[in-house]
Amino acid sequence: MVANKGLMVGLVVVVAIGLTGVFAPWLAPHDPYKINSGIAFSLPRSGYPLGTDELGRCILSRMIYGTRITFTVGIAALVLALVTGIPIGLISGYYRRLDNIIMRFIDVLMAFPGILLAIAIVAALGPGLVNTTIAIGIGTMPAFARLVRGSVLSLREADYVESARALGAGDIRIIGQHIFTNCVPPLIVYSTLQMAWVLLTVSTLSFLGMGAQPPLSEWGAMVSTGRTYIRLAPHIASFPCIFILLSVLGFNLLGDGLRDVLDPRLRGSD
C-alpha cells in the first residue's frame, strides 16, 4: 500500500539523517570549521566528497555537523510549542469560561503565517539561534493549542469522562489521564508534519541572516553564503539544499503515513 510505503521511506530518511547528526564526529571526514584557503571552491575530489566552500572548508563535514544544529533547533522549537500549546489547549477545551478569551488570543496569533510570527519575534529578540528557536516555537504553538482544544471539546462529553467524574475523580485527573491520552494520536501526526515545516523555517530564517550566525554550519546559513558564488561554484549552495529537501520530504512522508495509519478520518479524499 502506498501509505505504508510512504511511511517506511519517510521513517528511513528521518532516522538516517537523525543518526548522521548524532554520529557526526565519526562520520565527518574533516573538521567543519577548519579553514584551508588553498583548496577553496573545489568541486568534489579525493578526500572531499562534496567539495569545499569559499574558505576551503569541507562541505560534507559542514553539512553533517549542520544536521546537529538544524535538528536541535527544530526539536527544541517543537518541544517548546508542545509544552506551551498542550496545556493551553487542554485548559481552553475543558474550561468553557476561559475558552473564549484564550481562543481570541490564539486566533490573533494564528491569523498570521507562522513565518511572519517567527520573524516578528526575532525582530524583538534579535538574531541568533536561541531566539530563532523561541520564535519558531511560539510561531507553531497556536496550531497545537487549537488541535488539542478541538480534541478536548469532543472528548469531554464522552461517557467515560462522566463516569470518572461520578466516581469522584478531580479535574486534573480527568484531563491528565483520560482526555490527554486520547489527544495523543493526532498530536503525533501533527508534530511530524509540523517538524517538516519547522526545519524549513529554521533554514529559511538562517538564510535570511536571522538564525544561525557564521561560522555555524547550519544548512540555511550555508546556502546564504554560497549564494554569492552561485555562478562560480553552485555546489556550495546546492548541496545543503539537498539535505534540507531530504529531511523535509522525509518528515512530510512520515507524517502523511502516520496520519493514514493512526487516524484515517484525518485524510483528505486520497
Binding site: 503565517p113 511572519l116 516578528a120 549552495a237 529537501l245 479524499s269
Partner: protein, 313 residues
C-alpha cells in the same frame, strides 16, 4: 449580508489595534537602546539623552503607545532610524510592489493548479494523478530560496534570458518591467501550485462522489458539463477558502523571495528593518503586512456569498 459585513468591518480595527499593541510591545521591550544606537559610539550621555528626548523615548510606555497611535492615525509612521526617510513613503512604495508581485504569482498559480487538480481527480490513479501527487509533495518540501537561486542561476546567469534581480526602471505593468517579475512571481507561486493542486484534487474527488453527480450523468449530460458545471462549481467554495489561506502563506513567501531577488517590496523591507533594528520601520512593515492579510481574508469571505447564494450572512 449587511449585518455580517458590518460585524466583520468592525472586527478589523480591533484586530489592527491588537497588532499595533503587539508590535509596539515587541519592539520596545527588546534589548538594545535605540537612542544609544542612533547616537553612535563615543557620544556623551547628554547626546544620548537629547536623542532620547527627541524620539520621545523618555516618556512612559503607555504614553509612548498613545502618541504612536495618534501619529499612525494621522498617517505619520515616523522616520526610519537608519536612513531618515519617512517610513510611510517606504511602506507605500513597498506595498505596491509586493501587491503586484503577489497578484501575478496568484494568477499564474491558479491557472496551473486548478486544471492540474481537476485532471488528477478525474483521472484518479492514472499516471497524471500520481505525477501530480508526487510533484506537489516535492514542491511542498523544496526550500523556496533554493528554487529561486537555481532559477536565477539558470535563466539569468547562464542563459541571460531574464534580468537577475530588482525591479527595473519602469513600472511592472510594462513589457519591459514584466521581465523582472517573471522569476520572482514564478518562485512565489510554485509552492502554491503544489498545495493548491493537491487540495483541488481532494475536493473534486469528494464532490465527484456525490449523488447529484450520478444523477447528472444518468441524465445523459456530457462528461464535460458534469465536471465543469456541476462538480467544479460545488468544489469552488472549499477551494476559495484554501486560496484565501494560501495568500497568507504567499505573503510569508514574499519575505524570502523578495530577499533573494532583491525585489523592493514589503517582505524584503521587513527583513532589512529587522536586521538593522530600525524600530519605526519594523513597526510599520508589520502593521502593513497585517493589514494586507486582514483585507485579503475579508475579500475571501465576501467572495463566499457571491459564489454560494445559499450563504446569507
Amino acid at each position: 449580508m449587511s449585518a455580517y459585513l458590518i460585524r466583520r468591518l468592525i472586527q478589523i480595527p480591533i484586530v489592527l489595534v491588537g497588532i499595533t499593541l503587539l508590535t509596539f510591545l515587541v519592539v520596545h521591550l527588546s534589548p538594545g537602546d535605540p537612542a544609544a544606537i542612533m547616537a553612535g559610539p563615543g557620544s556623551s550621555p547628554e547626546d544620548v539623552a537629547n536623542i532620547r528626548h527627541q524620539l520621545g523615548l523618555d516618556k512612559s510606555l503607555p504614553q509612548q503607545y498613545l502618541d504612536y497611535m495618534g501619529r499612525i492615525l494621522r498617517g505619520d509612521f515616523g522616520r526610519s532610524l537608519i536612513r531618515g526617510v519617512s517610513v510611510a513613503e517606504d511602506l507605500k512604495y513597498a506595498f505596491v510592489n509586493t501587491f503586484n508581485l503577489v497578484v501575478v504569482a496568484r494568477i499564474w498559480s491558479l491557472i496551473v493548479a486548478i486544471p492540474l487538480g481537476v485532471i488528477a481527480a478525474v483521472r484518479q490513479n492514472s499516471i497524471w494523478d500520481r505525477l501530480c501527487m508526487a510533484g506537489s509533495l516535492l514542491g511542498l518540501s523544496l526550500p523556496t530560496f533554493w528554487v529561486g537561486l537555481i532559477l536565477m542561476s539558470i535563466f539569468s546567469l547562464r542563459l541571460g534570458w531574464l534580468p537577475l534581480s530588482g525591479m527595473g526602471e519602469s513600472s511592472m505593468w510594462t513589457l519591459d518591467g514584466l521581465k523582472y517579475a517573471i522569476l520572482p512571481a514564478f518562485t512565489l507561486g510554485a509552492p502554491q501550485v503544489a498545495s493548491l493542486a493537491r487540495l483541488t484534487r481532494s475536493t473534486m474527488l469528494e464532490v465527484l462522489r456525490q449523488d447529484y453527480i450520478r444523477t447528472a450523468r444518468a441524465k445523459g449530460l456530457s462528461e464535460r458539463i458534469v465536471i465543469y458545471k456541476h462538480a467544479l462549481k460545488n468544489a469552488s467554495l472549499p477551494i476559495t477558502t484554501i486560496i484565501g489561506m494560501q495568500t497568507g502563506y504567499m505573503l510569508a513567501g514574499t519575505v524570502v523571495i523578495e530577499s533573494v531577488f532583491a525585489w523592493p517590496g514589503l517582505g524584503r523591507l521587513s527583513v532589512l528593518s529587522i536586521l538593522a533594528r530600525d524600530f519605526p520601520l519594523i513597526q510599520g512593515t508589520i502593521l502593513v503586512i497585517a493589514l494586507f492579510f486582514v483585507l485579503v481574508n475579508l475579500a475571501v469571505d465576501l467572495t463566499y456569498s457571491w459564489l454560494d447564494p445559499r450563504i446569507k450572512y
